[in-house]
């Protein structure tokens, strides 16, 4: 279990398949302020790999990625 992180916003993408989780995340990031942390929940098994690619491409920071009882939990910080 990773370090406990504080989230400013929570995005629930449980039950959604590709490409909805990253599309919803991009909307959430647009709405967030720079430096804010978004906690995202997803059940899409492709999400861990896609979140890494998405953060590399957008320059946002993936602070943590882990699984809790079948749900993937991500912490993403908006960098700019």
């Amino acid at each position: 279990m990773a370090t406990v992180l504080e989230a400013d916003r929570v995005l629930d993408c449980k039950g959604m398949l590709c490409p909805l989780p990253i599309v919803k995340l991009s909307k959430e990031i647009k709405a967030a302020q720079s430096g804010q942390v978004i906690k995202m929940l997803a059940t899409d098994k492709g999400a861990p790999a896609d979140l890494q690619a998405w953060t590399r491409q957008t320059g946002n920071e993936l602070l943590d990625s882990h699984e809790e009882n079948g749900t993937f939990v991500f912490f993403v910080r908006k960098t700019k």
């Binding site: 398949l17 490409p19 909805l20 990253i22 599309v23 957008t58």
Partner: protein, 173 residues
């Protein structure tokens, strides 16, 4: 539409040439995913892909000519839903079978949490994906600009090629 700025975002250029339900998904999934990553995206809708720009999308799917298409039931217990029903080729040409296959595929996709084609297209519009309707196909099949969603623009091969020339990824679907 040339990409002269070296700091410009990455660019994706797609050609959507087919309009059945199964072929409508790949360009719209890639376009929205790229848009979500901050890429600049253009999709050129040509030949049978053009009707995907119509205000009312009627995309259907046919198992005829798609022998590897899984036939799954969108209801019942999970192990029943995962059964792949073998459909004899002759059945695929029975009137109404395409409509049945389309209904089953749409319901299965919905149950699994996949966005519908109209939803994905609306997301593409929201993400500023350039939707280009092929003028030549419009003339051949008798479509007018007003038949399409207002966000669609109209262009020809040169319009697409100029956009694609500076693209990082180009795909024909």
């Amino acid at each position: 539409m040339s990409k002269s700025d070296p700091n410009a975002p990455r660019r994706l250029a797609l050609i959507a040439s087919r309009g059945t339900l199964d072929y409508a998904y790949p360009p719209l999934i890639l376009a929205t995913a790229a848009g979500a990553m901050g890429w600049e995206v253009g999709v050129f809708f040509t030949f049978y892909g053009l009707p995907l720009l119509l205000k009312d999308i009627g995309a259907a799917v046919s198992p005829l000519g798609n022998p590897a298409m899984p036939m799954k039931m969108p209801f019942g217990p999970e192990n029943f839903q995962n059964v792949n029903w073998p459909i004899p080729t002759a059945m695929m040409s029975v009137p109404g079978f395409n409509a049945l296959a389309t209904t089953l595929m749409k319901q299965t996709f919905k149950n699994k949490g996949v966005a519908s084609i109209p939803e994905l297209r609306a997301l593409a519009v929201e993400l500023d994906v350039k939707l280009i309707a092929c003028q030549m196909t419009m003339d051949v099949f008798g479509f007018k600009k007003d038949d399409f969603i207002p966000e669609a623009s109209v262009g020809g091969a040169a319009t697409f090629l100029e956009f694609a020339a500076d693209a990082d990824v180009q795909l024909f679907i």
